[in-house]
């Protein structure tokens, strides 16, 4: 739990410094914001690690194929990264870049999950006896 309070403190300290720096140099403030977002996201991922380990254990106990569940994890990772990058760009005032990153994230998600759709389709075909 100490890590959570540390992360909250980092967020607040960063906001204060960012306000101070925004008056004189906006780019330094933006970099400070980016650093704090990176650190907070890394902290979030550290918290998620035990959850992911539990998911992997469940997956092996059920006997689920890795090729079926792997696109879901990839999609989750792409979503987290694209959302964060898009938010940083929006904060910096580049809405067009932000929207492009969002679209790229959507396309990458579709690219990762397309084998899953094909697998489902072949499964349905097998069930139908085709």
């Amino acid at each position: 739990m100490e890590a959570f309070f540390k992360a909250a403190a980092i967020g607040m300290i960063c906001c204060i410094f960012s306000l101070v720096l925004q008056r004189s140099s906006r780019e330094q403030a933006m970099l400070l914001n980016t650093l704090s977002v990176t650190m907070l996201l890394a902290s979030f991922l550290q918290f998620s690690k035990p959850v992911m380990d539990t998911m992997h254990q469940l997956e092996s106990q059920i006997g689920l194929e890795s090729s079926l569940i792997s696109p879901v994890y990839k999609c989750l990772g792409i979503g987290i990264v694209s959302q964060t990058a898009s938010g940083i760009c929006k904060d910096a005032g580049s809405s067009a870049v932000s929207e492009s990153i969002r679209m790229l994230g959507t396309a990458a998600g579709l690219y990762c999950t397309s084998p899953l759709f094909l697998a489902v389709l072949s499964l349905v075909k097998d069930l139908m006896g085709g």
Binding site: I10, S25, Q28, L31, L32, T38, M39, L41, A42, G77
Partner: protein, 64 residues
């Protein structure tokens, strides 16, 4: 999580902005620009390193 990094970057930012103000007030605008750019590069290097570590973490956690 390294809180020191936040303080380090904030300190660099404050020092660079003070130096930039002093230099531009004394009529050395080109030097002020150089100092601002140098500060930006230093901070950018630290931030890029952290972003790279984050991406590696994402890759390992979500099995890329």
């Amino acid at each position: 999580m390294n809180v020191d990094l936040i303080f380090k970057i904030a300190a660099v930012g404050i020092i660079v902005s003070i130096l930039g103000q002093v230099l531009s007030r004394s009529g050395r605008d080109e030097m002020a620009t150089v100092v601002t750019l140098a500060g930006l590069v230093v901070v950018l290097m630290i931030v890029v390193q952290q972003i790279s570590e984050l991406f590696n973490l994402v890759k390992s956690l979500f099995r890329f």
